[in-house]
């Protein structure tokens, strides 16, 4: 699915959380939203999901109607629901579920659980899981309906580095294979550098840079966004790496 944003803004009362965001992303691509805390990343992703009122224009495959097949994973993974992992993931297919859960639904969910390495947790209560396990469960839920647009708010923030790697590789594979448009908020610049096709760097509600990884993850732009002086260098395999050195003297 192709997604186009034109002058998108979000306002909470008198506070302008997001202003004048323009971006375009094609199917099969991952776009990473980067920026410091409070820069408007979550508000932007919630506006795209239709969860907060917005100004500006959103086009899904050139059409203004928001499609139903959007997979959304919020940042908050806390829950008190007395449900099993399988039931939580099944809910991702909510529009397709009848009173009796069919073999097809179960098969689809089990495939996802296996892909994310959590098939063994299927019968566990979701409240008994660790934060990282819960994050994987809600990611599976977002993927369960085979969405064409995937909106992820910090999907790997609670995961260990092996799971971060596996999840991002899985997301890239799914995004490419199914032609999904994936927009994800990330805090790890190196993960973004490795897996994103495009990066949008935000600060104070505005986009300060957008484009391919090399054009956005420059020392100057990283310093402008995060107020740290970074070391940006290439690993032996050519991958871009970013390490913060110290707080910016221009704060």
């Amino acid at each position: 699915m192709r997604l186009d944003l034109a002058r998108v803004g979000v306002r909470y009362g008198g506070v302008e959380a997001v202003r004048d965001i323009d971006l375009s992303i094609a199917g099969g691509e991952i776009l990473a939203l980067l920026g410091p805390n409070g820069s408007g990343k979550t508000s932007l992703i919630r506006a795209i999901a239709g969860l907060v009122p917005m100004t500006g224009r959103l086009l899904f495959d050139q059409r203004p109607e928001r499609p139903r097949d959007i997979g959304y994973m919020p940042q908050d993974i806390a829950t008190q629901a007395a449900l099993t992992v399988l039931e939580v993931v099944l809910l991702g297919r909510f529009g397709k579920l009848g009173l009796r859960v069919g073999r097809h639904d179960l098969a689809a969910v089990q495939g996802l659980l296996a892909d994310l390495g959590i098939a063994a947790l299927a019968g566990r209560q979701v409240t008994q899981l660790s934060g990282g396990q819960r994050q994987l469960v809600f990611l599976a839920q977002a993927l369960a309906a085979h969405p064409r647009l995937l909106l992820l708010d910090e999907p790997i923030s609670a995961l260990d580095i092996r799971h971060q790697l596996e999840v991002m590789e899985m997301l890239r594979r799914v995004t490419r294979e199914r032609g999904i448009t994936t927009i994800t908020i990330l805090h790890d610049l190196n993960v973004a550098a490795r897996f994103a096709d495009q990066i949008v760097m935000m600060r104070a509600g505005a986009c300060i840079a957008a484009g391919p990884v090399e054009t956005v993850l420059t020392p100057a732009l990283v310093e402008q966004a995060f107020e740290v002086v970074p070391l940006v260098f290439r690993a032996p395999d050519g991958r871009l790496l970013v390490t913060p050195l110290h707080a910016s003297p221009h704060r």
């Binding site: 999901a49 239709g50 969860l51 139903r68 959007i70 959304y72 994973m73 919020p74 908050d76 829950t79 008190q80 629901a81 007395a82 449900l83 099993t84 399988l86 039931e87 939580v88 809910l91 991702g92 909510f94 529009g95 579920l97 009173l99 859960v101 073999r103 179960l106 098969a107 969910v109 089990q110 495939g111 659980l113 296996a114 098939a119 299927a122 019968g123 209560q125 809600f138 839920q141 977002a142």
Partner: protein, 348 residues
Amino acid sequence: MTAAAEAVASGYHSLMARRVMVLILGLAALVASFVLDVATGPAMLRPEAVIRSVLRLAEDRTVDAIVWSIRLPIALIALVVGASLGLTGATMQTILNNPLASSYTLGVSAGAGFGAALVIVFGQAIPLPEHYAIPVMAFVFAGLACSGVYAIGRSRGATAQVLVLAGIAFLFLFQSLLSLLQFVASPEALQSIVFWLFGSLQKATWPKVGIVAAVLAGCIPVLVVDVWRLTALRLGDDRARGLGIDVRALRLRALLVVSVLTGAAVAFVGTIGFIGLVAPHIARILVGEDQRAFLPASALFGALLLSCASVASKAIIPGAIFPIGIVTSLIGVPFFIWLITSSRKVFW
């Protein structure tokens, strides 16, 4: 299908089988309690005589008269009112994301109590016999309390927090109005109000059973349509909305069902506390919160609790009948405390 897929599928099917088993056992306990309820009273009947009379297997005029004219309506109204209260409690705990929610939380029962007291104190001004006017006004004021909460919810976004706060405001409003009525009431009227507020199944008749059962039967399909939406709502508003659910409309729709069900349930038997709070907790421990199992289990355990309370109300002092509202609280409170302090493990 791979071995892992089969393990997931068989795990799911065994979970569903456990839930069905809980419902079957609950139903068996309900049948036993129902028979005991019909058998218990000033003239004790043998359970097999009750079963024969109910199934019309044998004719014994005395037993039939006791069973069909007096005890069956009482035992049946305990079932339908208990199921209604269990269902409303479960729905409210889900839509308000609050384990303390029940008909009391939204002031619905307090509204019904005020409506009934209004008739008792100013009955002569209402052109209806008192035994009709009390349930009608109790239903109307339960509906008014819910409509007030609904109106505030509509104007302020219908979040769980807004609805709970609005409900508590109406609870205090109707309790204050009820206190005012008690203050101005004659000693006889005051006694009638207090007796109504205690709750009683003894004035049950076949038409009353029919009305509550019809309302219950009418509300169930409305909730069945929303079972997956309600289950998704347990994961929070944001996630439910992310799944494409109109959370505001869902809450308001469920609130309407709760209002009608509570109004019908309390109109004929008075304000029976505790069932709506405790039945969903038992259901949650035994079957979890997949609403396909949670809602029927809450209704089932609501019916079972009220039926058992009905038996207890007749058994505490032989020959006398304790007000059912007092019995549900006296038995229910210690049971509930045991439930929330001891059940760290869940069955499902």
